[in-house]
C-alpha cells in the first residue's frame, strides 16, 4: 500500500482513539454537519423515488449476470471493447494492456472508487506511467500521498489551512488559505495535463444495459475533460453498476445526487454511448470498458446480495455517528463508513476489515438514510455473527460452501475483536476456547434467568444491589469487576432505589386507598 496511513493503528479501535485525539481532524469533521440532512431531502417525491429506485436496483441484482451480458453486448454494438476482471489484479492488467498497446505515458483520471479499490494508481506507477488524479479533492489527496477519506468528498478530513500548506509545498511558494484562490490554482495546474494526456480513465456511476451507455455523475467537469480530450478512454465499472433501461435513470440520477450532495441533479451528467463517430472532432477514438467482479457476484443469492444495490451516494457516511467522530481513515479501507463496514469484509472474502462491522452503534441512521433501502444495520449484525462464528465472509458469500483460507491472512489475532465496544468487554475478548465456553455459559444462564418472571425479578434485584454498591457514593457507576475494558469508556447512572415493579405495587396500594397524590 503506497498510501500513508493518516490515522495509524493496528485495529479500528486504536485508529479511532487516535482520530478522536486529532484536533485538526476533529475541526475538519465538523464540516460534515452541512451534509447531515441531504439524505432526508424535502421533496414529496422522495418516498416514491426511493421505492422505485429500490425496486430497480433489486430487479438488476436479482438477475445481474443476465443484465451484465446484455450490457456487454450493447456496449460492443456501440463499438466499445469490453473485458471482465475477476480480481483487482486482472482489472489493473486490463487497463495496463490498453495503456501499453496505445503507448500511453500520461494518464488523466477522474475520481472513481473502483479504481481506488483496484489500486490502479499504484499499478500505473509500477508500470512507469504517470497518472494524475484530476478531481480537485482527489488531486489534493494524491499530492498528500493519502487515500480519500470519503467516497464523495475525498479530503473532507482536511481544513483549508492544511490544504493551503500542502499545496504551498507542492507549488514551492506560499498560497493563501482561500477556497476561491485554491480552486483557481488547481485549474491552472491541471488544465495543461488534460490537453497533454493520451489516456483517460474513469469509473462509471451507471452502465445502461439497453443502450450500452456509460453514465458519469460529476460537478467539476474533470470527467468531461477526461472523456473529451484523450484519444483513448478506459472505464472501470464494478459489475453492479448495470441498470436495465435508460429511463431507469429518471429515478436513480436525482436520488443519487440529492442523497450525495443535496443537489436536484449534479452539475454535470455525462452519457457516453460508444467512441467518437465519423466526422466528430473530439471524444475518444477508442473506448474500453472493464467490468470488475472482485467477489461481488459471489454475494448473489446470499443474505448480503442487498449490498450490491448500493449506488455510492455517501449518505450513510454523512449521518453515521461513528464516521462523523473518527473520519474515513480510521477504517483503513477504500470504502469507509457504514457501507464500507459491510463491503470491505465481503469484497476481501473475509481477509480484511474484520473488525469493521463492530465499529458501529447500530443506531440505524445509515439504514434510514440509504436511498435504495439497504438494511445496513441488519447486515452489520449478520456480519458480526458470521465473522465471529468462525465462518469467514467468503464462506457465507459463497452460499456456505467451504472456502479455504490462504495462509493466516483470514485469521484474527487473539484479542483483535470485531466490535470495538464488545472487544473491550473482557468476557467476549478473543476467540480462544476457554473464553468461548465462558461466554456460552454466561449467555445460557442469562437466558434461563430471564425466561421466567421470578428469575428476571431476582436477577434485577441482585443487579441493582450490586450496582448501587459500586456507585452509591458518586451517583455514577464507573467500574464493575470483569468489565474493565467496557467501563473504561462508559459510566452508568446508579439504578433507582426502588424498581418500577416495586413502585407500581406501592402505587396500586396507595390508589386503592383513594390517594393519587404521589
Amino acid at each position: 500500500m503506497s498510501h500513508c496511513l493518516v490515522t495509524p493503528g493496528r485495529t479500528f479501535a486504536e485508529r479511532a482513539e487516535r482520530a478522536t485525539q486529532n484536533t485538526e481532524l476533529q475541526r475538519a469533521l465538523g464540516n460534515l454537519s452541512v451534509r447531515l440532512h441531504t439524505a432526508r431531502m424535502v421533496d414529496e417525491r422522495h418516498r416514491d423515488w426511493k421505492d422505485r429506485a429500490s425496486a430497480i436496483r433489486r430487479e438488476t441484482v436479482a438477475d445481474l449476470d443476465s443484465w451484465l451480458d446484455r450490457a456487454e453486448k450493447a456496449l460492443q454494438r456501440t463499438g466499445a471493447t469490453v473485458s471482465r476482471a475477476a480480481t483487482p489484479e486482472e482489472a489493473c492488467d486490463a487497463v495496463l494492456d490498453v495503456a501499453r498497446r496505445v503507448g500511453a505515458h500520461r494518464v488523466v483520471k477522474s475520481k472513481s472508487m473502483a479504481t481506488e479499490e483496484i489500486e490502479l494508481g499504484d499499478a500505473f506507477a509500477a508500470a512507469g506511467i504517470t497518472s494524475l488524479e484530476t478531481d480537485f479533492g482527489e488531486w489534493i489527496a494524491q499530492v498528500a500521498g493519502e487515500r480519500p477519506s470519503h467516497i464523495i468528498t475525498p479530503v473532507i478530513h482536511k481544513t483549508v489551512d492544511q490544504i493551503a500548506a500542502l499545496l504551498s509545498g507542492y507549488a514551492q511558494r506560499s498560497l493563501p488559505a482561500d477556497h476561491e484562490f485554491l480552486t483557481e490554482f488547481a485549474r491552472g495546474e491541471l488544465r495543461p495535463h488534460f490537453l497533454d494526456a493520451d489516456l483517460g480513465v474513469t469509473g462509471a456511476n451507471f452502465v445502461v444495459a439497453e443502450t450500452g451507455t456509460i453514465v458519469l455523475v460529476t460537478n467539476e467537469g474533470n470527467a468531461r475533460l477526461c472523456t473529451t480530450v484523450p484519444r483513448v478512454l478506459v472505464c472501470v465499472a464494478p459489475v453492479e453498476k448495470v441498470v436495465p433501461r435508460l429511463t431507469d435513470l429518471g429515478v436513480l440520477l436525482p436520488l443519487l445526487t440529492r442523497s450525495a450532495t443535496g443537489q436536484p441533479l449534479s452539475n454535470y451528467v455525462t452519457m457516453l454511448t460508444g467512441p467518437r463517430r465519423a466526422g466528430e472532432v473530439d471524444g475518444p477514438e477508442e473506448l474500453h470498458v472493464v467490468f470488475l467482479d472482485h467477489n461481488r457476484r459471489a454475494l448473489l443469492g446470499t443474505p448480503y446480495e442487498d449490498m450490491l444495490a448500493c449506488i455510492r451516494c455517501g449518505a450513510c457516511l454523512n449521518v453515521c455517528p461513528v464516521y462523523r467522530t473518527v473520519g474515513g481513515h480510521a477504517y483503513d479501507s477504500v470504502y469507509p463508513g457504514p457501507m464500507g463496514k459491510v463491503l470491505t469484509p465481503l469484497l476481501s472474502a473475509g481477509t480484511a476489515g474484520l473488525d469493521l462491522p463492530g465499529a458501529s452503534t447500530l443506531c440505524g441512521a445509515c439504514t434510514e438514510a440509504c436511498p435504495v433501502e439497504i438494511p445496513l444495520a441488519d447486515l452489520l449484525v449478520r456480519l458480526r455473527a458470521d465473522l465471529r462464528g468462525g465462518r469467514d465472509a467468503a464462506r457465507v458469500a459463497a452460499g456456505r460452501k467451504h472456502v479455504p483460507r490462504s495462509g493466516e491472512a483470514g485469521r484474527r489475532l487473539p484479542g483483535e475483536g470485531y466490535a470495538s465496544p464488545a472487544s473491550r468487554l473482557a468476557l467476549t475478548d478473543g476467540d480462544h476456547a476457554p473464553n468461548r465456553r465462558t461466554r456460552a455459559f454466561i449467555f445460557r444462564t442469562w437466558s434461563r434467568m430471564w425466561s421466567s418472571p421470578a428469575g428476571y425479578r431476582a436477577s434485577i434485584s441482585v443487579g441493582r444491589a450490586a450496582a448501587r454498591l459500586f456507585g452509591a457514593k458518586a451517583g455514577w457507576m464507573r467500574r464493575a469487576p470483569g468489565t474493565a475494558g467496557w467501563t473504561s469508556t462508559r459510566d452508568l447512572p446508579v439504578p433507582a432505589r426502588h424498581s418500577f415493579r416495586q413502585r407500581w405495587r406501592a402505587r396500586t396500594r396507595v390508589s386503592q386507598r383513594g390517594d393519587e397524590s404521589w
Binding site: A28, N31, V34, R35, T134, D135, F136, G137, I140, T153, P154, V155, I156, K158, T159, V160, I163, H179, L182, T183, R187, R191, T211, T213, N219, E220, G221, N222, L225, T227, T228, V229, R245, L246, T247, L249, G250, V251, L253, P254, T261, Q263, P264, L265, S266, N267, Y268, V269, T270, M271, L272, T273, G274, R277, A278, G279, E280, V281, D282, G283
Partner: protein, 183 residues
C-alpha cells in the same frame, strides 16, 4: 401568461448560477446571443458549432459585425485553437425545469469541447424544448439512437471539495449564459 414549467426552469437555472436572458423572439435573440458572446469573449475567439439554429439566427454575421473571431469545428486548426477560445457557443437539445439542466448532444457539428474548454459557455435553448423533469428528458432521449455523448449541464463548473464550500470554475466553464428563445 405565466408558463409554470418555464418559471421552474428559470428558478433552477439561477440556483445553478446561470445567467439567464430572455425568453426572446428569434430576431432579438440573435442580437442578444451575439452581444453576450462577444462581451464574454473579451477579444478571444468564439467557438461556434455548425448547428442549423445558429445559422438561422444569423449568429456568424452578427458576431462578425461585433468584431468577434469565430472558430468552427470544420476549421482544420480547430483542435489546437479550441484550447485557447474564450467562449463556447452551443445550442441545447432539451432543458429540464426541475433541475435547470441543459442537454447537449455531440455530433460532427457540435463537438464536446465547445461548451467545456473555453472559460465562458453561452447556450441557446428554445422554451419549447424545456421538459418538466429528468424522467421526461430521458423518455425523449430513449426514442432515438443516442449520440456518442449527451452532456447534462447545470451551470458553471463547481466543487465543494474544500470544507464543503462551493467554488466555481475548477475545471469547466466559469460562467454559463443561457439565452432562451420563444418557440
Amino acid at each position: 401568461m405565466v408558463n409554470p414549467v418555464l418559471q421552474r426552469f428559470l428558478a433552477a437555472a439561477r440556483d445553478n448560477r446561470c445567467t439567464v436572458h430572455g425568453p426572446l423572439a428569434p430576431p432579438a435573440a440573435g442580437t442578444t446571443i451575439a452581444s453576450v458572446a462577444s462581451e464574454r469573449a473579451d477579444g478571444g475567439e468564439v467557438a461556434v458549432g455548425d448547428d442549423p439554429l445558429l445559422d438561422e439566427l444569423a449568429i456568424p454575421d452578427l458576431l462578425a459585425a461585433r468584431g468577434a473571431t469565430m472558430l468552427r469545428p470544420t476549421d482544420p486548426t480547430w483542435s489546437t485553437r479550441i484550447a485557447r477560445a474564450t467562449v463556447g457557443l452551443t445550442s441545447a437539445r432539451l432543458g429540464v425545469a426541475d433541475t435547470g439542466s441543459l442537454l447537449l448532444g455531440s455530433s460532427a457539428g457540435s463537438p464536446r469541447a465547445t461548451g467545456l474548454l473555453p472559460p465562458a459557455h453561452v447556450c441557446i435553448l428554445r422554451t419549447g424544448a424545456i421538459v418538466a423533469e429528468v424522467a421526461d428528458a430521458l423518455e425523449i432521449l430513449a426514442r432515438d439512437p443516442l449520440p456518442s455523448a449527451v452532456t447534462w449541464i447545470g451551470g458553471p463548473s463547481r466543487t465543494g471539495d474544500i470544507e464543503f464550500r462551493i467554488t466555481f470554475g475548477v475545471h469547466g466553464p466559469k460562467t454559463v449564459d443561457v439565452v432562451l428563445i420563444d418557440g
